[in-house]
């Protein structure tokens, strides 16, 4: 059985020392090992950004596509091979800026994939512009006098879109994050784990200390019921989107793949592609 070590490769991340993404990388590796996955059974599909590099830093199949489109590529991959464990990953700009449209529709479509967003409230790779999750008033290279737009609250957007599994983690609480990622992967349907993953280089406001002070850890709220959608929405609103832990899950949903008419149990990549003469002849009748 594969261990955490098997999910490590010898590529040294080009992240700044202290970047929150290191913890996300480690958490994914631990979660995959804990779930008994083998490296070749997993594919990580990522977008563009510092965070997007993560697909190259974990010893699984990895696909690093274009900016904002990790989710469509991940869904395509899942359709080709429904037995793969597919994880999509990227930054807040990637997922909630350029890729927000795809996020809403991936939620709606509900394929069995896990989406991990490293949310640092800034554009890291392009060196410090504000992001869709930057707060109002936030000063960045493109908001020198303070952000005059309002922030997207990912957990609120996800619940609003009707997501079936929603969790939020924080890079300095790796134990919780590992657990959340494990649950998300096990969940049969589309799962989001939004991770507060500080950018130590460009975001001097939302630092580790800032998050430590501001997150609201649901693990410490014994009577919180993550199966109650209204309560989840209330919690997200009440905490300004800063609740961490398992926020919501609905196990009654049927994933997309299970609803496709005639879609085989076997992975499409395993299928014989030759068309039977009988199906062909029948198809011709319509045009006779």
């Amino acid at each position: 059985m594969a261990t955490v070590k098997d999910f490590r490769n010898n590529v040294r991340p080009n992240w700044c020392p202290g970047c929150g993404d290191f913890s996300v990388q480690a958490s994914i590796q631990r979660a995959l090992a804990a779930l008994g996955k083998e490296p070749h059974e997993v594919a990580i599909v990522s977008g563009i950004g510092c965070s997007g590099r993560i697909s190259g830093y974990i010893n699984t199949y990895g696909f690093h596509g274009v900016h904002g489109r990790a989710l469509p590529a991940a869904q395509g991959l899942k359709l080709a091979n429904r037995h793969l464990t597919v994880i999509a990953a990227g930054g807040d700009g990637d997922g909630f800026g350029i890729g927000l449209n795809h996020f809403m529709h991936a939620v709606r479509r509900n394929m069995d994939i896990t989406y991990i967003v490293m949310d640092n409230q800034i554009y890291g790779l392009t060196k410090g512009q504000h992001s869709p999750t930057s707060a109002h008033g936030f000063e960045a290279k493109t908001t020198p006098q303070g952000n005059i737009e309002n922030a997207i609250i990912p957990t609120q957007v996800a619940l609003g879109a009707g997501i079936g599994f929603l969790a939020q983690g924080f890079s300095s609480d790796v134990n919780q994050l590992v657990q959340l990622i494990e649950q998300a992967i096990q969940y049969r349907g589309f799962a989001l784990v939004n991770v507060f993953s500080p950018c130590v280089t460009y975001n001097k406001i939302n630092t580790y200390d800032w998050f430590r002070e501001h997150v609201y850890n649901l693990d410490q709220v014994p009577d919180y019921d993550p199966t109650d959608r209204a309560a989840a929405m209330q919690m997200v609103v009440k905490t300004g989107g800063l609740a961490t832990g398992l926020i919501y899950r609905d196990d009654s949903r049927v994933p997309y793949e299970d609803q496709i008419p005639g879609y085989p149990e076997r992975a499409l990549v395993e299928e014989d592609l030759t068309l039977s003469g009988e199906i062909f002849q029948n198809a011709l009748k319509q045009f006779a």
Partner: protein, 574 residues
């Protein structure tokens, strides 16, 4: 007696123009005639003039005629808009309801279509009454339509079938009483051979099915949507899936994801969607992921003429992506070729591990036409270089060299899920293992590896030449213009000119050698295309085809090119 017939039905969009035209066309196709129909419609659902023009002949013409023998009009507008193309002595059949008037040069038959239909049970059957009147004029028995009527209406009950047949019969009789059974208009009988009747989009869908396509993410757009609508009905039989995505960017990225996963995946769009896909087409080129993209060209730019004919995406298909990648662009011309081209595109995509764009145009995609037998044997599946057990064993323990440098530039693919095949894939410049590497030496090596795949390659039969040797005129065409050119060629030959028809079926890799050979000895060259800037002719000179005496025939008003227009253009030159 008529050897061939040009028949047209016109009315307000949504009042049964399409079903009238289709019933007529299918019924005649089943008699053994060659039928080619072209629909004129606008980008709205109800209202607005629309018409369906049908060419019926004993020989294959893949073009509508420039004139009309018989016009069937459901409103005065249809007469006003179309009567100038009705030939001298041609016939207009119109509903008495609107007191039709028509100019002197035609014979007008005013028939109470709506009233007779109401008497038969419902006003919507006026189209059947009009078909009956047409049948009388053309000397066709009313039973010509029985089979089609039964197929359409039997599920609604025998009574509906009977009512419709009654409507046809009443229309027939009314026309006869008006003296409309004219031997001059009797259509020479056909031999009864049963052939297929379909549009290019249906042939593409059927071709995709035969080619083993299993994933089709796409976003609806005219004139592409029929392909997804067709496959969504067929795919459950083979376990494939059509996903209606949120946009074309999602469609192409999902296609790439599925192809990376090892499925045969493709998407289908028109110009606006092709524009949105450009960045990801570059990703497919950079990651050497075999995807197929169908672009059913329509009038551009922007929303342009969404329901009209144009061939103006050629430069976009070739040069639209930033950066440089190997790419293949195929241009089918007929429904038969639409059927085979999808399998061919997948084979090329997988053999060269690059994106392949199939370009049709609205006329080819939507014109229903008599189609010669389609054979499953004509579609073979070749998945190109895929890692063998030995390749995987050789890489054991390390990373699989997905982008290994080879003489051909092609390296073995391995699909996620395969034990021993772990590797990285990225749109960032990378090394043999797929790991990012931006050094100058690696960049040069990898760029050359990718570009080498298609260096010196010309796709077989990219150029098809017919006609005379050492011609006075060689007419070069692409896509659906094949029919209009073939016909113009015959007319010019009848006038004593030596003419060749050179049709281009792929524009990337540009078939320079084939084209040069096909044009050799031609005194004059005419390049026929549906755009304003002579894209095809410019490609010829861009890729170094030596052709100093080339002229452009261009049409960009949204309408199909007619044989007579090419004929007159060539006559003026000579």
């Amino acid at each position: 007696m008529l050897e061939q017939l040009s028949w047209k039905v016109g009315g307000q969009q949504g009042e049964g123009v399409e079903s009238t035209g289709e019933t007529f066309a299918i019924a005649l196709n089943r008699q053994g005639y060659y039928v080619y129909s072209f629909r004129h419609f606008s980008s709205r659902i109800k209202g607005g003039h629309s018409n369906d023009k049908v060419r019926v002949s004993l020989k294959q013409y893949r073009s509508i005629a420039d004139y009309t023998d018989v016009l069937l009009a459901f409103d005065q507008e249809s007469i006003d808009v179309n009567v100038q193309e009705v030939r001298q002595g041609g016939v207009v059949i119109a509903d008495s309801k609107f007191n039709p008037t028509a100019p002197e040069h035609v014979r007008l038959f005013s028939i109470p279509l709506t009233k007779i239909a109401e008497e038969c049970g419902s006003a919507i059957m006026k189209n059947m009454v009009s078909l009956g009147a047409s049948a009388c004029l053309l000397g066709l028995p009313i039973n010509t339509f029985r089979e089609v009527v039964e197929e359409r209406f039997l599920r609604k009950g025998q009574r509906i079938v009977d009512q419709n047949m009654e409507a046809i019969s009443r229309g027939f009789n009314y026309m006869r009483e008006l003296g409309g059974a004219d031997p001059q208009f009797a259509l020479r009988p056909a031999d009864g051979t049963r052939r297929l009747f379909m549009m290019g989009n249906e042939a593409l869908g059927l071709g995709a099915l035969a080619a083993g396509a299993r994933v089709m993410p796409a976003y609806p757009i005219t004139p592409a949507s029929d392909v997804m609508e067709y496959l969504i009905k067929q795919f459950p039989k083979v376990g494939g899936v059509v996903v209606q995505t949120e946009d074309e960017i999602a469609a192409i990225n999902m296609t790439i994801g599925a192809a990376y996963g090892g499925a045969r995946a493709f998407t289908c769009t028109a110009g606006p969607g092709l524009s949105l896909m450009m960045e990801a087409i570059g990703l497919a080129g950079m990651t050497e992921t075999p995807v197929v993209i169908i672009d059913t060209q329509r009038g551009g730019p922007s929303t342009g003429l969404p329901t009209k004919q144009e061939q103006s995406d050629m430069l976009a298909a070739l040069f639209g992506t930033h950066g440089e990648i190997p790419k293949i662009v195929l241009n089918p011309a007929t429904t038969e070729e639409c059927f085979t081209v999808v399998g061919k595109a997948f084979n090329l995509a997988e053999r060269y591990q690059c994106p392949v764009i199939i370009m049709t145009d609205l006329q080819l995609s939507l014109s229903k036409q008599t189609t010669e037998p389609l054979r499953l044997e004509d579609v073979v599946i070749d998945r190109g270089a895929v890692a063998s057990e030995e390749d995987l064993a050789a890489a054991a323990g390390g990373e699989f060299p997905r982008y290994r440098l080879t003489d051909s530039g092609v390296s073995r693919r391995v699909f996620p899920g395969t034990k021993g095949g772990l590797h990285h894939v990225t749109g960032v410049e990378h090394m043999e293992t797929g790991r990012p590497n931006e050094t100058a030496g690696n960049r040069k090596q990898m760029m050359e590896k990718r570009m080498r795949k298609l260096q010196g390659v010309e796709i077989e039969d990219s150029v098809v030449r017919t006609g005379d040797e050492s011609p006075d005129i060689a007419i070069v065409g692409i896509g659906s213009n094949i029919g209009a050119i073939a016909e113009a060629k015959e007319w010019l030959q009848r006038d004593g000119l030596k003419v060749a028809h050179v049709h281009i079926h792929a524009i990337l890799p540009f078939p320079k050698r084939q084209l040069q050979a096909a044009l050799s000895g031609a005194k004059q060259v005419v390049v026929v295309e549906n755009n304003a800037t002579a894209q095809l002719r410019h490609l010829m000179s861009f890729f170094g085809v030596d052709c100093p005496n080339a002229h452009s025939f261009l049409k960009y008003n949204g309408q199909a090119i007619l044989p007579v227009e090419i004929y007159e253009f060539c006559k003026e030159m000579n």
